[in-house]
Amino acid sequence: MLRIGIPRGFYYYRYFNLWPNFFYELGAEVVISPPTNKLIINDGINLAVDEMCLPFKVYLGHINALKKESDVIFVPRIVSVEKNCYTCPKVLGLPDIAKLVFNKIKLFTPTINQYKGGEPEELLKETAKLLNVSQRKTKKAWCNSMHKYATQEFSTEFLPADYLGHVKVSSPLKPRGKLALLGHGYNIFDSYITMSLIDKLRILGYEVLTSEIIPHNDLEKASGDLPKQMFWTVGKELLGATKWLLEQKDIAGIIYLTCFGCGADAMISDLVNRFVARQGKLPLLNLTVDEHTGEAGLITRIEAFTDMLARRKTESEDNLPAYGEFEYSSQGAL
């Protein structure tokens, strides 16, 4: 049986309930790399150029971790996963860079391009070739796995992270409300990158909500309400999630987590901040992490934010700090 390794990074956090099932059904053994740890990150940092974003470095570390555990490593070239939307340039360039970095390892790099809609034909064709099965069998396996994937449901109790071997914590405190955590799935669900942010928020008594929990139709409607369609899938979801959250009555606040150097987030987070500031009612915390981030700094910021949220309930606090009022005001530039 062929052992296919899947690196625990990037779009695995989106398709963890699709790809392994697809390969299993066609008779392959699937090996997932272990959760991100210090060794994986350090390897990734050494293998990538400095300017690369942290998730990319982490991903290279995961490929490295699978070297001896698998016969071939699945590093698809994900161009697009929905009509008229792209992923990010670094994700597009990933397989070509991986081929040069890991020139002695066998990599399986089919293109997934659904920009014009439809199924990822090349993925199906190349998988059939790799596993020596018929096209018909491959299509059937894909349909079955897609069905299972399409029916998966998430909640604040069961976020994607909770399905990935993450041990849930319980809080000694009374429930304090819902906090939305926005960001790319491969950041917010990787406990090493976020230093267990979801756990920390849960221990503080908050239910954590991510864009995966928002009903798909509501998300589509909200993200369609922009003058120009956002052409990154994750960007579209985050902007749609922001608009949806602003209409809810029971959200305590939003935390937007990004990695330093993320090109897409520079644009997306600016718009998220603007939409939230214009409404002026929901507190928003921006967290930027990279490989140098210290846990103490992160804890300080979260504690300050949640303290402020608690105070809003008991004392009369203005909705926008001086910084927010200046930053997004309509008072003219000069």
């Binding site: 670094k90 360039g93 120009k228 644009m267």
Partner: protein, 365 residues
Amino acid sequence: MKITFPHMGNLSIVARVLFESIGQTVIVPPPITKRTLQIGSKYSPEGACLPFKINLGNFIESAELGADTIVLTGGCGPCRFGYYGEVHREILRDLGYNFEMVVLEVNEKGLRDFNEKVKFLANGASYLEIAKALRLAWHKAKALDTLEEAVQQVRACEALIGTCDKLFSSACKRIDEAKNILEINAIMETFLSKIRSTDRSLRRDIIRIAIVGEIYTILEPFASLNMEKHLGKMGVQTIRSLYLSQWANDHMFKGLLRARSSKKAIAKAVPFLSDFVGGHAMETVGSAILFSECDYDGVIQVAPLTCMPEIVAQSIIPYYASKHHLPFMTIYVDEQSGEAGLITRLEAFCDLVRQKKKSSLKESV
């Protein structure tokens, strides 16, 4: 309607004639200065790339001169340039400016939307008038590029430093004022012969370095901290992977005009970078390979900090460079970059390139 647009090298000359020929009023933004960048950085997201910040500075300075309509090109990704217009619009709105933003692109709304934007800008001009305007603009772009290519060659060996750049500056002013193609060609011929007959120095260590990278940073001297001028002073002949007329040919005429196009470079990149990733990553990788095969002595990649496609190119080129012994250096620029730091790196690079050339000559003898 008072139209403005961002600066990018000599784009303002080309854009101005295009819109004025169809009867529009154009407000050319003031030349880019530290003030432009200060204003732009202040109101831009911190992680946005340098071109975004400079553009925003241009728009705000144009507003001070009365501009009310911004014309930008756009795109649909994956590079973030396609969403510049939207974020600019929101920032300007929050700052209280009342701009009409016209983003020229073919997006999910299709060709009809594009045509409506063109009609809006055309202000009643006929298709013939628009075609004439495009032709005039194209000729100016070609003339400017031809002159610049000559400067890039002669600057390295001019006897009096600054001569070629002064001539190019005058040529740009004259071409900006030219009213028809005959005039443009006459000015081009005059200045071309002036540049080519500049007094030469006696230096014998001229090297040739190619500059590749993200289009804005390599076309706009303010963004690249005047890299080509500094290299010229160090006795380096330069060439770029992108020129203004080439960009126009690629993006407006699908590479069909008889001028530089990026098709060859993209073909060269394929063994290393198999398909597009957005931006000009394939052009960067492919041009580095092309220039190396044409015996250029070294390649410098310039890009704005956090530019996603260029980081992909930067991850790939060293694998080619080490195999083919090509001196290669990447320089990222942002609003905190200093010219002195750049000059130090360029000097070190040129020293290494010259040493390598000397030692390989010794070996061949």
